[in-house]
């Protein structure tokens, strides 16, 4: 049997092996909070190294997902768990979830996609459920059941696709010619299965609750990896069947932007607001996915900046518990200068204040949308984009006023904030760099 692996498959193997090693020594690792995360980071570095010679999609997907997982791992020691001895399991789940996201992003046939998708969503569900308190467990259960529904949609789509083409490969440009109604329905159902991970309307319900209830570090990791994997996978799926899915994605994108914006407007709990913001941002990437080759590049660019930003925000909130976080109480959180600055930078980027990366990403999406989706979707997206300032920046004056407080020192949290912060700053000051990478991967 020929077992020549592509670089990205090798990366997946490395991450799974890393998870196995950690799980094999659960007992020994449980007493020390930092050893298991360090093993995980070594696995991530090896995985990135193996894909350096791979294609543009593989390099972008593995690189970005590895950074997201690394930030997640650095936050493991301060994670709010129901049982603190479960930290090694958390490390293993983060590695498995990253492996799933990479498989989703780079898979060449629909079975690889479905395996990746399920590995990812199962890991996320379990990670959420490990958080302290009752709310995370409840939210994780809801997420899990709804993920099963989307899996059903995906599997049904695979059936229809196989029925109409006789192949399990991702549909390519030629497939469209022979495709009838069954083929189209199959492609739409597969896309909806992946879209679930994006948390766009009408499939936002479970993830919205999960993001609100999860420990901050888990929420950041889950948002970043799931969206990276899903958007890259969808960009590749859509590029093969140009035209079939565009209207669907423009519609759900615009709907999500409007829904999330109005949902977030009156929220006074930062975590709930960020969950609605995830819907808005997913809407922007969905809108871009429906806007042709430039749009797909914009979608990948968008999701990369969004992943970096949400990692920064949630890293800054790491360790403050899983309860609600009132916007008016932010000055009492004792975040300290570094984390307050991280949170402020993250909120500025989400609200699209230039030159933060969130601003460039929105411009890129709007530009693609004006030419491909037309006037009204663009106008709604513009309004949804600028309205963000009203809810993201509400906490900013208090946050900056409180920045001089003393911080409880946690070096790993600090390094996670710095890592995500560097990503955000670089993406903001040199927007062309990520755009070029995204264009190579999505065009």
């Amino acid at each position: 049997m020929n077992i020549a692996l592509t670089p990205e498959q090798l990366a997946i193997v490395v991450l799974v092996l890393g998870a196995v090693v950690v799980l094999g020594f659960v007992q020994a690792l449980a007493s020390n909070a930092t050893t298991a995360p360090l093993i995980g980071i070594v696995a991530l570095i090896v995985a990135v190294a193996t894909t350096l010679g791979g294609g543009p999609v593989a390099r972008l997907a593995v690189g970005a997902i590895a950074v997201a997982a690394a930030v997640g791992l650095l936050l493991v020691p301060s994670l709010e768990l129901e049982r603190p001895t479960q930290r090694p399991e958390v490390v293993a789940l983060i590695l498995l979830g990253a492996a799933g996201a990479i498989a989703l992003a780079t898979g060449t046939d629909v079975l690889q996609l479905v395996l990746g998708l399920e590995t990812l969503s199962l890991s996320v569900a379990v990670l959420v459920s490990l958080g302290s308190g009752e709310r995370p467990l409840e939210a994780a259960f809801r997420y899990f059941v709804l993920a099963a529904i989307s899996l059903a949609s995906f599997l049904y789509g695979i059936g229809l696709l196989y029925l109409s083409t006789g192949s399990l490969a991702l549909p390519g440009p030629g497939a469209l010619l022979g495709g009838g109604v069954l083929f189209q329905a199959g492609v739409v159902l597969i896309a909806l299965g992946v879209v679930f991970e994006l948390a766009v309307v009408p499939l936002q319900w479970g993830l919205l609750d999960a993001y609100t209830a999860a420990p901050p570090a888990v929420a950041g990791y889950a948002m970043a990896t799931a969206k990276l994997g899903a958007v890259i996978a969808l960009a590749r799926l859509i590029s093969g069947v140009e035209g079939v899915l565009n209207h669907v994605f423009i519609a759900i994108g615009v709907l999500s932007i409007a829904w999330g914006t109005f949902g977030a407007l009156a929220q006074r709990d930062l975590r709930r607001m960020l969950a609605y913001s995830a819907v808005v941002n997913a809407g922007f990437s969905a809108l871009a996915l429906g806007c042709g080759p430039d749009g797909r590049a914009a979608a990948i660019f968008y999701v990369v900046t969004y992943a970096a930003t949400s990692l920064l925000i949630f890293a800054s909130l790491a360790g403050r518990g899983t309860g609600p976080l009132g916007l008016s109480l932010i000055s009492t959180e004792r975040l300290g200068p570094l984390r307050a600055a991280g949170l402020a930078l993250g909120l500025l980027s989400l609200s699209g204040i230039p030159p933060a990366p969130g601003f460039w990403a929105k411009l890129a999406v709007l530009w693609a949308s004006w030419y491909a989706a037309g006037v009204w979707p663009t106008v709604i997206a513009v309004l949804g984009g600028v309205a963000g300032v009203l809810y993201y920046l509400r906490a900013l004056p208090d946050l900056l006023a409180a920045a001089r407080q003393v911080e409880i020192a946690r070096p790993l949290v600090g390094s996670a904030v710095v890592l995500a912060g560097i990503a955000v700053v670089v993406l903001g000051l040199v927007p062309g760099l990520a755009w070029t990478l995204a264009g190579l991967a999505g065009g």
């Binding site: 709007l366 300032v389 062309g432």
Partner: protein, 559 residues
């Protein structure tokens, strides 16, 4: 110097870092040098021959129609930088005393530094993309400074009001930046046939620029945020909400006047918008109880003059009035700030009065500012306002006469504030005027008087701006219309005396934010309704998801 000018926007950033790091025994002392160097750099640029110099880094944001990082150093940018540097330097010095003892003093100077950097970037931006960076930056700084005193009620709400208005302007500008044809976005070539060939043409582009400008400069229905913005510290009101940031809309219209001239309909709308806002703002000012709000409506009214000029194909008159207004309005605000500071934060006109004896410098400089404001002959305002009224009478006589009538309203409201605060019985016991607050008033007062002589009789300003604005009509100083305006202004001041006598503080009528409030309330109710759908009930979620999938399948089948 032409190589240096594009980078003047970084000048306040070292001050920001130093002040934030706690350098300087007196908080803010490390920050005050940035604006001074900015002023000197701009003056040196003019002195060394005014050679235009651009910095262009192509393909910086490749997803934009024009994605270059383009900083433009020309006469208009240098003039704006000079105004910014001059006013902000004296506002910084004034703030050293005004903000003394405030626990957030360092943060205040950091915000100011950030504001000046963003404002400089705004005027240096050569393309819509770079302009947007500064445009949003000054909006953010304005929000942070309005909400600066978080322990006072209503400051956050006032800041969010400003953000909401700014947001509409940002939306228009964002749209303009992405819809222009590929390769377009340079502010000076926006009006070329190639760049107005996109969907909607020049008219759509002109509308978007007008909306953006109106939001920034509080014109027409978008005026609502400036009066509440007075919740910020007074130096901020002087610098941001009177002299510089709110004038950015005027700057935008002047910078892109070529686009406006391609759309005569939008021109006319601009002229009428400015004229009506000028009259409306002046009249509403007459009914304010609050000293600073009275001045805020005056700013709205004066910006109306500048808009009218922009709409009357007189961009030079517009920018000339922006130039003179920056000095006399900053002066009025800072003089008012001395009175407010000396009376322990009293802004209620019903409780202020008779301050001219205890606060002679504040009174004297306020008087100078008021005279410049009504366009008293030979003061700066006299020259610039005449230029606008002349343009009105030339292009559209009806607007011209309304602009002339505005002089009477101006006299009425500023007379009411002047008499109400500095004359009449003393109702408070002010302490003395701190030296550090008083001496920055002097250079501003001098400029309020002499700024007009940068143009008359030598024509220096218009000569410098000709490469940017095209041929400029010579200024007719001391004309009949100018004298008529001055007489009307003085008559207004005279008539305001009996008003103050009969009703100190006038009626407590507050003009609400009306439509903006209603829209906000509707948005928040919708938001609460939508959040109510997120019940946490799994069966409902599942049902909604399945329905959603079914609808999407149908949608996909139809299309």
């Amino acid at each position: 110097m032409s190589a240096l000018l594009p980078w003047t926007w970084v000048l306040t950033l070292p001050g920001l870092v130093l002040t934030a790091a706690g350098v300087g025994r007196r908080p803010g002392i490390a920050s005050i040098w940035g604006p001074l160097v900015m002023l000197l750099a701009a003056l040196a640029w003019f002195a060394t021959g005014a050679v235009p110099g651009d910095v262009v880094i192509p393909n910086w944001a490749p997803f934009l129609p024009d994605g270059s990082l383009h900083l433009r150093a020309d006469a208009l940018a240098a003039l704006m930088l000079a105004i910014l540097g001059f006013v902000s330097f004296f506002v910084y010095v004034y703030s050293l005393s005004y903000m003394e003892g405030d626990p957030g003093q360092r943060r205040f100077f950091c915000y100011l530094d950030f504001f000046v950097a963003a404002m400089a970037l705004l005027v240096l931006g050569g393309t819509l993309g770079v302009l947007l960076v500064g445009w949003a930056g000054v909006g953010l700084a304005s929000f942070l400074l309005i909400s600066f005193w978080r322990d006072r009620p209503g400051t956050l709400r006032a800041g969010l009001d400003a953000l909401a208005a700014n947001m509409l302007g940002d939306a228009a500008l964002l749209l303009a930046a992405v819809i222009v044809p590929s390769g377009c976005g340079d502010l000076t070539t926006l009006g070329t046939p190639r760049c107005t060939a996109g969907l909607g043409g020049a008219a759509l582009l002109a509308w978007l620029l007008l909306i953006a400008a109106a939001a920034k400069s509080a014109q027409g229905p978008l005026y609502f945020w400036i009066p509440t913005a007075m919740a910020g510290p007074t130096p901020v009101s002087a610098l941001i909400h009177a002299a510089t940031m709110v004038a950015a809309g005027v700057y935008l219209l002047v910078r892109t006047h070529a686009v406006l001239e391609l759309a005569p309909g939008v021109m006319l709308v601009t002229a009428w918008l400015g004229t009506l806002t000028m009259l409306g703002g002046g009249i509403v000012s007459l009914f304010q109880r609050n000293f600073k709000r009275g001045l805020a409506y005056s700013t709205i009214s004066q910006l109306g003059y500048m808009f009218a000029a922009a709409g009357l194909a007189a961009p030079f008159a517009s920018i000339f009035h922006l130039f003179t207004h920056a000095f006399f309005k900053a002066l009025l605000f800072l003089a008012a700030g001395v009175a407010i500071h000396a009376t322990g934060g009293e802004e209620d006109l019903a409780r202020l009065g008779g301050l001219r004896r205890r606060l002679p410098v504040s009174f004297g400089t306020f008087l100078v500012g008021a005279l410049a404001l009504i366009g008293f002959p030979a003061t700066s305002g006299g020259f610039s306002k005449d230029a606008i009224i002349d343009a009105g009478l030339r292009e559209n006589p009806l607007i011209g006469y309304l602009l002339l009538a505005g002089a009477l309203v101006t006299g009425l409201y500023i007379g009411r504030l002047l008499f109400g605060v500095y004359f009449g019985p003393e109702r408070t016991h002010p302490h003395h005027e701190p030296a550090l607050q008083v001496w920055p008033l002097v250079p501003l007062a001098i400029m309020a008087v002499v700024a007009g002589y940068f143009e008359w009789p030598g024509g220096g300003l218009s000569r410098a701006l000709t490469p940017v604005l095209g041929a400029i009509e010579p200024l007719r100083a001391f004309s009949a219309t100018g004298l008529a305006a001055a007489v009307l202004g003085l008559a207004g001041i005279g008539l305001s005396w009996p008003i103050v006598q009969s009703a100190p503080g006038a009626t407590p009528a507050e003009v609400g934010t009306g439509w903006a409030d209603a829209l906000g309330q509707a948005g928040y109710s919708l938001s609460r309704g939508l959040a109510g759908l997120q019940t946490g009930l799994l069966t409902r979620y599942a049902l909604a998801s399945l329905l959603g999938v079914a609808v999407i399948l149908l949608l996909a089948a139809r299309l």
